[in-house]
């Protein structure tokens, strides 16, 4: 469906497409670990350890 569609629309031979996919996944995971997850975790209270009003 969407993933096969993306795959079909990537340019180049199979090895080039595979390289693009690996790079894209690396970029996505990096963005998640650096910015998205820290931001999400701020919203979640299960890690709070301070007392306060």
């Amino acid at each position: 469906m969407m993933y096969p569609w993306l795959w079909r629309h990537l340019p180049g031979p199979t090895w080039a497409r595979a390289t693009i996919v690996v790079l894209a996944i690396a970029v996505v995971v990096f963005a998640l670990f650096e910015w998205v997850f820290p931001w999400v975790s701020e919203m979640l209270p299960y890690q709070d350890q301070t007392v306060g009003e």
Partner: protein, 277 residues
């Protein structure tokens, strides 16, 4: 009409003609939904990996860097030691480790050099807890904001509570899970355990007196006299706060302690650093 669709006797249209595109859309919708769900599952899995492992690595690194930035007389790296009859020697070279002589120990907060409260998130001290391992030493930094202090630097000092050795309540918070989890074993502390705070000017040896589990809004645990808000303090207390139960924000695990003695830095380590854990 193709040969595969024989003409019908009545005016009914051939069976596959209408359902075909509908089935196609159904297949696409199901497929995309499946992919979205699988993707969501992978994202949740990645979040767990990030929370449980990656924050430990990142935060562990910044905490170690913060320790290295503290330039106190006694190094935070202590070699493995052997303790025989109160004499502490390096395990490999048998070189004696300098211990604070008794005459320098002051068994009251009187005269203790008090570090001025810095701006967040400056690191101003180190916490040594032999119960948590002979190599347990972590930086203490200013503030209890998660993003600024606790998630990066580990242990944070509640703003405007007493500083180490000061009469009042030196209150600090730390993660019990992930982010380097400085207070992972907060529930293992028992009365009498040493909590040793090192600043640029002095060593402060506190002793655990009590622990309790409270609700997050019970700020009286960090009052100048713990659990007695409004009372005038006469002793130097220490209070540790962490979450409870693990991976939950429902309650807080609290440990209280009292200052036993303080001593100036530059004359060796307190004997308690080498207490058996």
């Amino acid at each position: 009409m193709s040969a595969q669709s024989p003409p019908h006797a009545d005016n009914e249209r051939p069976a596959p003609a209408v359902p075909a595109p509908r089935r196609r859309w159904l297949t696409i919708a199901t497929g995309v939904t499946g992919e979205v769900l699988v993707t969501a599952g992978i994202l949740l899995g990645l979040f767990v990996v990030w929370q449980l492992f990656y924050t430990d690595i990142l935060s562990g690194r910044t905490q170690h860097a913060a320790l290295e930035d503290t330039d106190f007389a006694e190094d935070f790296r202590v070699p493995p030691v052997t303790v025989i009859d109160g004499v502490v020697n390096a395990a490999d070279t048998e070189a004696p480790i300098e211990l604070i002589p008794d005459e320098l120990k002051v068994y009251s907060p009187t005269g203790a050099p008090i570090t001025a409260e810095p701006a967040a998130p400056e690191t101003f001290g180190r916490l040594w807890v032999p119960r948590w391992g002979s190599d347990y030493v972590k930086p203490i930094s200013q503030g209890t904001d998660r993003e600024v202090t606790l998630d990066r630097l580990g242990i944070g000092h509640y703003q405007s509570t007493a500083m180490p050795g000061e009469v009042g309540n030196f209150a600090i918070a730390g993660h019990r899970t992930s982010y380097g989890k400085p207070f992972a074993d907060v529930d293992k502390l028992i009365a009498g355990d040493a909590l040793i705070v090192q600043t640029e000017e002095a060593w402060f040896v506190y002793r655990v007196t009590a622990s309790q589990i409270v609700l997050p809004h019970q700020v009286e645990v960090i009052a100048p006299v713990p659990n007695a808000p409004g009372a005038l303090p006469t002793t130097a207390s220490i209070t540790l706060t962490s979450c409870h139960p693990k991976f939950s924000a429902e309650k807080r695990f609290i440990v209280h302690g009292e200052l036993e003695y303080w001593a100036p830095t530059g004359h060796g380590y307190p004997q308690e650093v080498f207490d058996k854990s």
